[in-house]
């Protein structure tokens, strides 16, 4: 991308940089001083790429940063749950009033058992498993996100675990939450995450002999150009995108 960057004005004619007031600085996530992890990179603006870029925005590169770790006290019952899970937690993220516990896959079973059985936690309902593929999150490309609810306490938490692309293994929660059965099959089907210990990890939505895992970011959406009134409309994944 750096090749395409239009040559800027000479250093000598460059205007002195405007002093940045706080509102011009991108919002910093999480507590200051804590490391934030970029999960990807956003390039350009307005969808301009390559030599057609006369705006100069095409050379922009910005990291994609998810909300960072929260620090204690988290407030209210968040601390109760965090205390009970403490040694098993990698990171706690609180964003928009929802709490996410990032748990290493080796600790996932122990954490899930505790979440279900601890009388202070009692998360009886596993709402589902949602896979997310972050191709830019090196070593943690495949995330499995669990939403749990406690009927007893009327609380919700999110548990997130990650696996590298080269070793896409996550322990299955079916022994603890039988409801995870189909959800894990769907996540395997769509993302290729292998849930170790699942009783029958087979495809569920795609045909049995389907190659690939369609909802990964490296799997194309597909589609053909459509002709409309003489013009050809490209398929959605090849249209100009406003990243």
């Amino acid at each position: 991308m750096s090749d395409d960057k239009p040559a800027g004005p000479e250093k000598s004619v460059e205007q002195p940089a405007v002093e940045q007031s706080p509102e011009n600085v991108p919002e910093a996530f999480g507590e200051p001083g804590l490391e934030v992890r970029a999960v990807g990179e956003r390039q350009g603006m307005f969808g301009v790429q390559g030599s057609g870029d006369t705006s100069g925005y095409g050379g922009l590169v910005a990291p994609v940063v998810l909300p960072g770790a929260a620090q204690r006290p988290y407030g209210g019952w968040f601390d109760t749950v965090a205390d009970a899970l403490d040694p098993l937690i990698e990171q706690v993220v609180i964003h928009r009033g929802e709490i996410t516990f990032h748990i290493h896959r080796d600790n996932l079973l122990a954490a899930a058992r505790k979440l279900r059985d601890d009388p202070d936690l009692r998360f009886e309902l596993l709402s589902g498993v949602s896979g997310v593929h972050y191709p830019g999150d090196a070593g943690r490309e495949l995330h499995a996100v669990y939403h749990l609810m406690s009927f007893t306490w009327n609380r919700r938490v999110r548990v997130e675990t990650a696996a590298p692309d080269g070793d896409p293994h996550v322990p299955s929660l079916v022994p603890i939450y039988p409801a995870a059965d189909w959800h894990e099959r769907e996540t395997w089907d769509m993302f290729g995450i292998q849930f170790d210990g699942h009783p029958a990890l087979t495809r569920i939505l795609m045909p049995d002999d389907w190659p690939g895992h369609p909802q990964r970011k490296d799997y194309p959406l597909g589609g053909i150009p459509v002709e409309y009134k003489g013009a050809s409309v490209p398929p959605p994944d090849q249209r100009r995108s406003y990243n």
Partner: protein, 447 residues
């Protein structure tokens, strides 16, 4: 190839077990042969995916012994359309157009949970106009009625109660007429959007809603009169598809199935959204944990929905002309349609505004329609109580103008896991009743 070979049968590749070749009129020999072999004969029956009693393209794989089902499994995926993947290639507002098609019997709930998730990420939850929230509640409760009506109607049809079907669809048609009046469409509305709703109520809509409520109050007792104490209906439904509270907890069942066990859990009460805490209604339960209980829960819930609709209509009457979209011009969908002599089309007032009066309005219109708005990076999950249970959209943003990932936790998908538990050990005919009591919608299951 000799004449004794069957072109269509191909080669018999079965490596184990006994192979029978049936060529017609030799049933006596086959039967005699079977008598010799060991009794471990498994009969596996495929019901569906095109069977009229399996609620859309649901395939049931039943292992039977006589009329008794010894093992039951579901085969799904026949209606998978990749909606979640497609949503990643459209703007956040366009996402509504896709997710409304998932569970096609409760489109407003799909739109609502997605919009609530996007609004939480945008941090505009408190800025949604009151009128938009009331209209969402109104539409969702109307939708709950239409969805429960289809459940009861098709459930009745499948056990042979055709009158239940005809009256169910008769009333549902009235709800769809209201949808058409308010949103312009009977299905696939894309009406609830991030920031509010697409349009204000059309003139006369409240009167139509009130007359619908009055009519439903006369019609709903017909269902009770037809079914509640009907001995055939009860014989088919009672103690069929039994699933107690422990089973519901383990398999993550919510909605009418959970409430039929006597546990009154309803997200509208427990974790209110869209202002449900301000409405007066009761959570309906039953204590039999069977198909009959679920039928009664649904029937009673329609009465509760009527109560909520009346309250919402009263509030809307006081809010004439109030905004239905968030005030932030960087999020609010700019264009309002209007009805002209040739149907729904561009609002000339809006075109005059952007083309002749306000440069900023033109820029906002252009930017929002072509590019859309950016949503701060993060993830949100705001579930709603759909007619089938907890429906939630896990919405993930990377800070761009498109969803990075949108996953729908569809209650039909989850609840269908209980099909085996509900039907194993019962009769084949009861499998149909058990599935009808789960009320799965395959559009939502397969997405």
């Amino acid at each position: 190839m000799g004449t004794d070979q069957d072109f269509y049968a191909g080669g018999a590749d079965t490596a184990e077990g006994k192979v029978f070749t049936v060529t017609g009129q030799d049933w006596d020999e086959i039967a005699a042969d079977m008598g010799d072999s060991d009794a471990a004969e498994r009969i596996v029956v495929n019901m569906g995916p095109q069977h009229p009693s399996t609620h859309g393209v649901l395939r049931l794989i039943l292992e039977i012994e006589g009329e008794t089902v010894t093992e039951a499994r579901c085969g799904i995926g026949y209606l998978h359309t990749g909606i979640e993947k497609n949503m990643e290639y459209r703007s956040w507002t366009q996402g509504v157009t896709f997710c409304t098609r998932m569970d096609y019997l409760s489109p407003f709930f799909n739109e609502a949970t997605y919009s609530l998730g996007v609004e939480r990420l945008l941090d505009i939850e408190d800025d949604i106009p009151e009128k938009a929230q009331i209209m969402r509640v109104l539409l969702m409760e109307l939708n709950r009625i239409s969805s429960h009506l289809v459940c009861i109607a098709t459930g009745g049809m499948e056990i042979g109660a055709l009158t239940v079907m005809t009256i169910g669809f008769r009333e549902r048609e009235l709800v769809l007429d209201l949808f058409e009046l308010i949103t312009g469409l009977r299905m696939n509305h894309a009406f609830i959007r991030p920031g509010g709703v697409a349009q204000d109520l059309p003139p006369g809509a409240l009167d139509e809603i009130r007359s619908f409520v009055a009519l439903m109050k006369k019609r709903l007792p017909e269902y009770a009169a037809l079914c509640n104490a009907n001995p055939i209906f009860k014989a088919r439904l009672e103690n069929v598809g039994h699933l107690d509270l422990e089973g519901c907890m383990a398999l993550g069942l919510t909605g009418p199935v959970l409430r039929s066990t006597g546990y009154g859990f309803d997200l509208r009460k427990a974790q209110p959204y869209c202002g449900y805490e301000t409405y007066d209604f009761d959570v309906q339960t039953w204590d039999t944990a069977d198909s009959y209980g679920r039928f009664r829960v649904r029937l009673n819930e329609m009465w509760e929905s009527l109560k909520i609709i009346e309250q919402a209509a009263d509030r809307l009457a006081k809010l004439e002309g109030a905004p239905v979209m968030v005030a932030d011009k960087k999020v609010a969908w700019p264009s309002q349609l209007s009805i002209g002599s040739d149907g729904m089309g561009n609002s000339l007032d809006h075109i005059r505004h952007i083309m002749g009066e306000s440069m900023e309005a033109l820029i906002h219109h252009f930017k929002l329609v072509t590019e859309g708005f950016r949503v701060p990076a993060g993830q949100a999950y705001v579930p709603v109580e759909s007619p089938r249970g907890e429906l939630g959209a896990h919405v993930v943003s990377d800070g761009g103008t498109r969803p990075f990932r949108a996953h729908f936790r569809d209650p039909s998908f989850n609840n269908l896991q209980a099909m085996g538990v509900m039907s194993e050990g019962g009769q084949i005919a009861d499998v149909i009743v058990a599935i009808a009591s789960i009320d799965p919608v395959m559009g939502g299951v397969d997405r």
